[in-house]
């Protein structure tokens, strides 16, 4: 549709290059994602390989601690003896995977419901919106906790830890569809009354075609904006759930479960087990949010910035 050259020359890219915060945020996010994707290549150890872990290596502080730091472990080790750097890389990978797929699920579900609801109106709209209202009155975390706790009890810890990623994506994905549905529905309601939709009907196009081929592309801006924020939210939700012990198991940690497992040690001196993963989590969320903010402002045609 839009070729690369005209995209690079466009106002959007120009405004992006001018905004230092946006550029830095994008750079950081890109680096973090690359690290996560290339985790198997970059990490010095494989944290899931039980044979490479030595319990004698547990709780070694980061490399800059002159007395006890070990050159093998940049950020030190966790209570199991796993290299923290490798665990963080793999953990970020898991966090980002869950974030991405959960948002994909929410998105597909929410956008479809939003389109149908907004365009068809009537009883369908009333039904879905009341459903969304009901679902929004329960916080995501609460729903997730209840659901996951039930599943954990039903499946048992072992089966659960294998299915954990899948369960998390499912739960976070289904819990958050109302956000997308509402945003898309608002867009659809605005677009529905525009004359190009009438023109499409006069020409004789089917409602399906009008919804997906004509209206949907015009709802992309708000979808894009909330997607970045939703990814950040999904990562936080997962981190919180893992922190509470309902998310990723200890042997396949995400950033959240890492933070959780290190929490008891924070006052006994091994601060790095919690603090360093926390730092990376904050960095990831912050930069994603900043990018999302920038995108929202850039796509808003009414704001003028000097």
């Amino acid at each position: 549709m839009i070729n690369l050259k005209s995209l690079l020359n466009s106002d959007l890219v120009y405004r992006f290059r001018k905004d230092k915060v946006a550029v830095v945020s994008l750079a950081i996010v890109f680096v973090l994602i690359s690290c996560a994707v290339l985790a198997p290549v970059l990490s010095p150890f494989d944290p899931y390989d039980l044979k490479s872990i030595d319990l004698m290596d547990s709780e070694i502080p980061p490399i800059w601690n002159e007395e006890e730091g070990d050159s093998r472990f940049l950020f030190g080790t966790d209570p199991q003896g796993r290299d923290l750097l490798s665990t963080i890389l793999y953990g970020m990978r898991i966090s980002l995977t869950i974030g991405f797929f959960a948002v994909l699920l929410q998105g597909v579900l929410g956008v479809t419901i939003g389109l149908l609801s907004g365009y068809l109106g009537g009883k369908i709209d009333a039904f879905f919106m009341r459903l969304a209202d009901i679902q929004l009155s329960f916080s995501t975390l609460m729903v997730a906790i209840i659901t996951l706790a039930v599943f954990q009890a039903a499946f048992g810890a072992e089966l659960y830890s294998e299915l954990a990623i899948f369960m998390l994506v499912l739960v976070i994905g289904i819990a958050e569809w109302p956000q997308y549905a509402r945003t898309v529905r608002a867009s659809v309601l605005a677009e529905k009354h525009k004359e190009y939709v009438d023109a499409a009907r006069v020409i004789g196009m089917s409602p399906m075609r009008i919804m997906f081929r004509h209206i949907f592309p015009n709802t992309l801006s708000p979808i894009l904006v909330i997607s970045t924020i939703q990814v950040a939210n999904a990562i936080i939700s997962e981190a919180a759930l893992s922190f509470l012990g309902l998310g990723m198991p200890v042997n396949k940690p995400s950033l959240g479960s890492l933070i959780s497992s290190g929490f008891e040690f924070i006052f006994s001196g091994s601060w790095w087990i919690t603090v360093i993963p926390s730092f990376f989590l904050i960095l990831l969320i912050l930069t994603i949010n900043l990018l999302g903010d920038w995108l929202r402002d850039a796509l808003n045609p009414k704001l003028y910035k000097d």
Binding site: D11, Y14, R15, K18, Y304, D306
Partner: protein, 330 residues
């Protein structure tokens, strides 16, 4: 000296990579009680000219040159506090869409009283009385009850009357009306224009009417200024300019009116479209669309010249045949 004198006004919009020159060297004046019409199509700069008088340009637009002298003071040099003393007080403004001008969550009374108390040290009761009397002046039936209405409870025509009443509250010396009847039906438009004409005459208030409608401007104003791509191309007494237009653009506008063409025939059109501000032709901005253009027209920017107060910015103005209007005869 005239009440309002705008000299060589320049307005620009710095937009990141490019700076758009919205108004170039526009000058006009208004005596006390005089009615001026600024005519042009969208993009000509007429609203920008009016907004800049009251320094209401939306960022990043700004006045980059010229003077706006009101009773001797240069309005473009005043700071915000001093400007507030002028806005809504000595110079009022009426905008196009009354639903946007009036605050939908406040009653008419609140809005009018607030406006008065911002500029006068009077009690609420006094402000209310003045408001009711102004509503009577704009012929709103049962004004005391109307004071307690919300804007959405009034029809379009009534809302515009309320807006006019608000503009008159402080007995201003000039009212600037930016397309005040474009959003209204024809019958309501006629009433509102008749009302404005009456009020301006009886209160000796100056009027700057901005519109694209040549017919409306001919009914209400005494002198007129035609703008194109940020410059004035023709100015003079209204009746004179409309029955005897000298600039090819003004001629083109008048000739394109259905009333000037035989029914069923193709309308005389001006070919092409008004250039956008970042792609203005060299020399006279109208030359690509002009039937009388010569090679000189794309080099020289014509100055406003002429006699008897009727000025035209066209180097060929003497050679253009006179315009035989169907309407001027009526």
């Amino acid at each position: 000296m005239a009440l309002l004198e705008v000299k060589d006004l320049e307005v620009e919009f710095p937009l990141g990579r490019v700076t758009l020159q919205a108004i170039r060297k526009v000058s006009f004046s208004l005596e006390r009680g005089e009615r001026l019409g600024i005519v042009g199509e969208s993009g000509a700069g007429k609203s920008v000219a009016a907004f800049s008088i009251l320094n209401l340009l939306s960022r990043p637009g700004r006045i980059s040159g010229g003077e706006i002298l009101f009773d001797g003071d240069d309005l473009s040099k005043l700071d915000d506090v001093e400007m507030r003393h002028i806005r809504g007080n000595q110079i009022s403004m009426i905008f196009q869409d009354p639903m946007m001008t009036l605050n939908p969550v406040l009653t008419v009374a609140t809005q009018m009283i607030e406006c008065l108390k911002a500029h006068r040290k009077i009690s609420t009761k006094q402000a209310r009385d003045i408001s009711v009397s102004k509503l009577k002046e704009v012929m709103i039936p049962s004004p005391e009850e109307r004071m307690n209405s919300y804007p959405h409870e009034l029809s379009g025509g009534m809302r515009q009357r309320v807006v006019i009443a608000m503009a008159l509250l402080t007995d201003p010396e000039i009212i600037i009306a930016d397309e005040p009847t474009t959003a209204l039906d024809v019958t309501i438009q006629a009433e509102i224009m008749a009302l404005m004409l009456d009020l301006c005459k009886s209160n000796n208030v100056g009027l700057i009417l901005i519109t694209h409608d040549l017919a409306v401007v001919s009914q209400v104003t005494e002198k007129i200024m035609v703008m194109y791509a940020g410059r004035v191309v023709e100015e003079g007494a209204t009746h004179e300019v409309i029955t005897n237009p000298k600039h090819p653009y003004t001629r083109g506008l008048l000739k394109a009116l259905p009333q000037e063409n035989t029914a069923g025939s193709r309308l005389n059109q001006i070919r092409g479209t008004m250039p956008s501000l970042n792609a203005l032709p060299k020399g006279c901005a109208f030359n690509p669309r002009c039937d009388f253009a010569s090679s000189e027209c794309s080099i020289v920017v014509p100055k406003l010249e002429g006699d008897d107060g009727h000025h035209t910015a066209c180097i060929h103005r003497e050679e253009i045949p006179p315009f035989k209007s169907e309407l001027g005869k009526a």
